[in-house]
C-alpha cells in the first residue's frame, strides 16, 4: 500500500510539468511578448512593471531556457509581485485560500448529504414516476446559471425576507463578538453561497450515486440476499449501500474543478474574500502575475484532490490490489 501511495504521488510530477507547459504556452500565445499585450495600451501599468515582467520571463533568453525558468518559478511557487500593490502573489493567494476552501468544503458536505439519499431512492425506484420527476429537477439544477440563481437567492432571502446577509464573510464588527457569536455569524453568511455552490454539482453526484446503486442491485449477491428472505431495507442499506458508496468517494475529485470554477462566479457575487474573487479582481485590473498565480494554484488544488481521492479509494476498497 505504501508503495502504491509513493508511486501515485510521484505521478504528480509529470502532471505538474504538463501544467507548466500549458500555462507557458498561454503566456506566449499573444503576438509580441507577454509584456506587450493589453498592457502596452494600459497606462496604469508602469514602465517599471513591464521591465520587471520582462526580467521575470527572461525574454532575452532562448525559448527553452525561458521554459526552464518558468518551471523553476512554478516549482518554488514564485509568481512574481502583484501589479496592484507590489506584494508577492503567493502571499495574496495564501490569504484568500482559507475562505475558498471553507466555502467549497462546506458545499461538498452539503452535496454528499443530499445526493446520497437522492441517488439511493432514485435507484431503488428506478424508472418510476418519482425517478423521472427527480431526473428533471436535477437536470434543471444542472442547467441553472449559478450567477442567476445567486441573484434570485439574494433578491428573495436577502432583500424580500431579510433572512440572510447578502455579501461578505467577516464584517468589521465581528471583532466585538464572542467566539460563538462569530461562528454563528459565519455559518449564517455561508448559507446562500453554499446553497448556490451545491446546486451546481448536486445533479452530477446524485446521478452517479443512482447508477452506482443500480449496478450493485443487479449483482448476484443481492439476489442471494433477497432469496434468503431479507427485508428490502436490509438488502438496500446493509448489503448494497456499502459497495455502491465506494465509487462515490472518487467523484469528489471529479467535481472539484467544477466547484473551483463555480467559486469564481459565486465569490464575486457574494463578496466572499476567496481566491475566485481575487482572480476576478486581478483580471479586471490587468494584474497579470496574480491572474496566472490563481489559475496555477487552482489547478494544483485539483491535482491534490485527485491524489487524495485515488489514495482513499485504494484504502477503502479491499478488492483493489496495487502491485
Amino acid at each position: 500500500m505504501l508503495n502504491f501511495i509513493i508511486r501515485r504521488t510521484l505521478l504528480i510530477v509529470p502532471m505538474l510539468i504538463g501544467i507548466s507547459l500549458i500555462t507557458f504556452v498561454i503566456a506566449h500565445l499573444a503576438p509580441g511578448d507577454p509584456t506587450s499585450i493589453r498592457y502596452g495600451l494600459n497606462p496604469e501599468v508602469s514602465q517599471s512593471a513591464r521591465a520587471k515582467l520582462k526580467e521575470m520571463y527572461g525574454l532575452d533568453k532562448p525559448i527553452i531556457v525561458q521554459f526552464g525558468l518558468w518551471l523553476k518559478r512554478i516549482a518554488m511557487l514564485d509568481f512574481g509581485n502583484s501589479f496592484i500593490d507590489d506584494r508577492p502573489v503567493i502571499h495574496k493567494i495564501a490569504e484568500r485560500l482559507p475562505a475558498t476552501l471553507l466555502l467549497n468544503i462546506a458545499a461538498l458536505f452539503v452535496i454528499y448529504i443530499l445526493a446520497i439519499p437522492i441517488g439511493i431512492s432514485s435507484a431503488v425506484k428506478a424508472n418510476s414516476k418519482y425517478d423521472r420527476v427527480m431526473t428533471i429537477i436535477l437536470f434543471a439544477g444542472y442547467a441553472t446559471p449559478s450567477f442567476w440563481f445567486a441573484l434570485l437567492l439574494i433578491w428573495f432571502f436577502g432583500f424580500n425576507l431579510g433572512w440572510f446577509p447578502i455579501s461578505g464573510m467577516r464584517p468589521w464588527y465581528v471583532e466585538y463578538f464572542t467566539f460563538f457569536e462569530s461562528i454563528k455569524d459565519l455559518l449564517w453568511r455561508l448559507v446562500l453561497p453554499v446553497a448556490t455552490t451545491s446546486l451546481l454539482s448536486l445533479a452530477n453526484l446524485s446521478r452517479y450515486m443512482r447508477s452506482s446503486m443500480l449496478e450493485v442491485l443487479r449483482q448476484d449477491y443481492i439476489r442471494t440476499a433477497r432469496a434468503k428472505g431479507l427485508s428490502e431495507y436490509l438488502v438496500v442499506y446493509k448489503h448494497a449501500l456499502k459497495n455502491a458508496l465506494l465509487p462515490i468517494v472518487t467523484i469528489a475529485s471529479m467535481i472539484l474543478p467544477a466547484l473551483l470554477s463555480g467559486s469564481f462566479i459565486i465569490e464575486t457575487i457574494f463578496g466572499w474574500p476567496g481566491m475566485g474573487r481575487l482572480g476576478y479582481e486581478s483580471i479586471m485590473n490587468y494584474d497579470y502575475p496574480t491572474t496566472m498565480g490563481v489559475v496555477i494554484i487552482a489547478t494544483f488544488l485539483t491535482l491534490l484532490g485527485l491524489l487524495i481521492a485515488d489514495i482513499t479509494y485504494a484504502i477503502v476498497d479491499p478488492r483493489i490490489r496495487y502491485e
Binding site: 498561454i26 444542472y142 442547467a143 441553472t144 446559471p145 433578491w155 474543478p257 469564481f264 485539483t302
Partner: protein, 275 residues
C-alpha cells in the same frame, strides 16, 4: 432507432424547445417588436415593468427587454454552435489519431487530455480571455478549445475496441487508406456517444458564454446576450426584477432542453441502459 428517438418524451420536449429558440434566433428581426439597440433615456421610458407595449419591460437605457432577449437568443445559440463545432473538430481529430494509431501519438494525446482536465475550466477560459481581450470570436474559440477532452476519450475508446474487428481488417486488405478507414469505416460506428456529447456540450457552452458575459468578459455591451442583460439587471435587482428573471429563465430553459435531449439520447443509444 429513429422511431425510438421520437417516441422518447424527454427528447421530443427538448427538441421542440430548441427548435422554438432556433426559430426565434433565425427570425429575430421579424419577431423583435423594437430595435434592440434603440435607447430612450426619458425617465418614463427607463426601467419600466412589463406592460402591453413592452412585454418584458425596459432596461436602464430604455431599451425594450423582449427585443434584446430575442437577439440574445441569436448570440447564445451561435456562440454555442460554433464553440461546439470547434470542440468537435479538435476532439474527434485527436480521438481518432490516438485510437487509430496508438503508440506514442496516443501517449502524448492522452497525457495532454489528462493535464487539460486538471484545469478548472472557467479559470482556463478566463485567463485566455484576459490575454486575448473580450470578443465574441475569442469566446467561441476558447470555449471550444477547453472542452474537447471528454469527446477525445470517448472516440479513442471506441476506436480501440473497433480497430481489430473483421470489417476493419477487410478494409485494410482491400487497400483502403488510413484516412478512409478511420473516417468512413470506424467513425460511423462510434457516432452514438458523439451525438450525446454534442447535445450536452451545446448546453454547457451556452451556460459558459452567459456566465462570461455576466462577468463582463464575454459578449460585450451593446451586443445583447442573456448573460450581459443580467449583469445590468444585477444593479437594479431590488426594484427591477424583470431584468434578472426573464433572461435567466431563457438560459435555464434552453440549456435544460439540450440536457434533456442528451440524456434521452443516451438512454436510447446505450443498449446497456435499456431494460
Amino acid at each position: 432507432m429513429v422511431r425510438e428517438i421520437f417516441r422518447n418524451k424527454q427528447i421530443v420536449l427538448g427538441l421542440v424547445v430548441i427548435l422554438f429558440m432556433a426559430g426565434i434566433a433565425t427570425f429575430a428581426p421579424f419577431i423583435a417588436t423594437y430595435s434592440p439597440y434603440e435607447q430612450n433615456l426619458s425617465p418614463e421610458a427607463r426601467i419600466q415593468p412589463p406592460s402591453r407595449e413592452h412585454w418584458f419591460g425596459t432596461d436602464d437605457l430604455g431599451r425594450d427587454l423582449f427585443s434584446r432577449m430575442v437577439y440574445g437568443a441569436r448570440t447564445s445559440l451561435s456562440v454555442g454552435f460554433i464553440a461546439v463545432g470547434i470542440m468537435l473538430t479538435v476532439g474527434i481529430t485527436l480521438g481518432v489519431l490516438a485510437g487509430y494509431y496508438g503508440g506514442w501519438i496516443d501517449f502524448i494525446i492522452m497525457r495532454l487530455v489528462e493535464v487539460m482536465m486538471c484545469f478548472p475550466t472557467l479559470y482556463l477560459i478566463l485567463i485566455l480571455l484576459a490575454f486575448l481581450g473580450p470578443s465574441i470570436f475569442y469566446v467561441m474559440a476558447v470555449i471550444g478549445l477547453t472542452s474537447w477532452m471528454g469527446l477525445t476519450r470517448f472516440v479513442r475508446a471506441e476506436f480501440l475496441s473497433l480497430r481489430e474487428r473483421e470489417f476493419v481488417i477487410a478494409a485494410k486488405a482491400l487497400g483502403a487508406t488510413d484516412l478512409r478507414i478511420a473516417f468512413r469505416h470506424i467513425l460511423p460506428n462510434a457516432l452514438a456517444p458523439v451525438f450525446v456529447s454534442i447535445t450536452f456540450s451545446l448546453g454547457g457552452a451556452i451556460l459558459v458564454e452567459n456566465s462570461l458575459s455576466f462577468l463582463g468578459l464575454g459578449v460585450q455591451i451593446p451586443i445583447p446576450s442573456w448573460g450581459n442583460i443580467i449583469s445590468t439587471g444585477r444593479f437594479y435587482i431590488e426594484s427591477a426584477w424583470w431584468l434578472t428573471l426573464f433572461p435567466g429563465l431563457a438560459i435555464l430553459i434552453t440549456v435544460l432542453s439540450f440536457y434533456l435531449v442528451g440524456d434521452g439520447l443516451r438512454a436510447v443509444l446505450d443498449p446497456r441502459l435499456k431494460r
